[in-house]
């Protein structure tokens, strides 16, 4: 102090009432700020979680798509397998039927069975045996039947029987089955 013999008392700018008001005001502000920060954090966490879920959803969709493709592929394979099984069964039945057709007197050397044709190689004691016991059933099955005979030393005949099914016949045959 330059002129005063005493120094001024410290001034309490904030009175008791004002201090109380400020305290509650500050507490309110802190609570508001805290709530805001909590909500902000929660919003951020929710957005992050939503992005994560969206990413996971996209990943799952991709997986589902891949699995769909695999299922289709498997279904196709199943169909193919079933078709093969059916074909094998048909083939087996056809072969059994073929062998049932062949009489005991005729000896088959070779048979080439295809989807619409059957070519038989064998020997027959004579032509009549073949004509009545094998050729007749074959003609009832196939549309076109061609037979060639070759005499062999023991008096028997070697034959080659080519039998063909036309497309319509095949369809009709499948429908019959």
């Amino acid at each position: 102090m330059k002129h005063s013999f005493i120094t001024p008392r410290p001034k309490r700018l904030i009175s008791g009432e004002l201090r109380l008001v400020l305290f509650f005001f500050i507490v309110t502000i802190i609570m508001l700020v805290g709530t805001y920060l909590f909500l902000h954090f929660k919003t951020y966490a929710f957005i992050t979680e939503r992005q994560e879920v969206a990413r996971e959803e996209k990943s799952l969709k991709n997986t589902i798509s891949q699995m769909g493709s695999e299922i289709k592929m498997i279904e196709k394979e199943v169909k193919i397998a079933e078709q093969i099984t059916t074909d094998n069964i048909v083939m087996k039945e056809s072969i059994r039927n073929l062998f049932d057709l062949v009489p005991d007197d005729i000896i088959l050397d070779r048979a080439e069975l295809e989807s619409s044709s059957l070519i038989l190689y064998g020997t027959t004691p004579n032509k009549d045996t073949y004509e009545y016991m094998l050729h007749a059933p074959l003609r009832s099955i196939f549309h076109r039947t061609y037979t060639s005979y070759y005499p062999i030393e023991n008096g028997w005949y070697r034959f080659v029987s080519s039998n063909y099914l036309d497309d319509e016949t095949v369809t009709q045959g499948e429908e019959i089955e």
Binding site: H3, S4, F5, I6, P8, K11, L13
Partner: protein, 343 residues
Amino acid sequence: MIAWLYQKIFIAIIPDGGEYDVRIVTLKQKKLLSKESRHYGGPSAHEDMLVYLRKQIDLSPLYYIAILNPGLHQGAMAGCSLHDIADELSGAKTLCRNGKWLLYSSILEIDTLKQRYSSIGLDFIFSPFSIIERFFADKIGTGFALYALAQKDSFSVAFFDDGKLEYAHHYPMHAHEGAASIEDGSGIGFSVGVEEDTASEKGISLEDIESLDDLDIIDELDNLSDIEDLDSLEDIAEFSDDQLTLEEKRISLPYSSEIKQEMSGFNDDYTRFEFIQKTLSYFYGSEYCNNRFVETVYIADAYGSGGELKRYLEEELFLNVLIRRIDMGDEVISLAMSEEEEL
């Protein structure tokens, strides 16, 4: 930080012989909002004033209460050598001014004053010599002269030479309610006021002076200067002798209050004249003089009755006298503001 929200209230208390002048200035961000003055007199003046001030200081927590020190044991002296040791040695509070001179006041009186205003508190206690220094700031740096502050209940005299205080003395005019007790208590351990001791040693006492012929100063002035007309000082002996007669007459004659006031003014002016005369006498006879002589007296008149004093000084001591009317409230407020700015 939040001080700008509040009004600043500066309160100046001027004790005036048992009465009080109060000045209240309200500022906000250095802008004057209001200025109010009140005067309290009568037996309950102090209590009434405190009640009023308590209401005022409730308006803002940022208030400063300044008071002009009414203590008897105060003064100023040249040099700051006693500044650091005065507290321990003599029970005086000192303030060093510019490293050249110091203000002092009795610690006991300051404590008593603080105790007296404990219900509202005090922030600044100013010496009358600070008022003189501030009020005559444009004059004290211009040369050697005598400066005085005339209040109703005290008279402060100081010699300044180019802004440096050479000698000073504080005279109480009348004993009043608080001063008597202060005076009684302050006799213990207060001795910084070397001027008072020296003055008593010189044997100058108002009671002992019956006429100006008895004053040693006249002889000293005769020795020290070429002034030959000092004999005319006898002309004013009427103010000492006749004053008693007037007082006696006042008892029997129905004087109006104006006449009483006028007579009181005459008496006070003469008393102040005697104080100046006594101070000059001591100064010229002391080591402070250094062959310097006072030609001009600047008087700050706080009570508005300095006309006779001017005439006495001019006619009896041949001094150039300049009297300025001073508003003590404004000056104390101004000092308080300057102190507050430095906080």
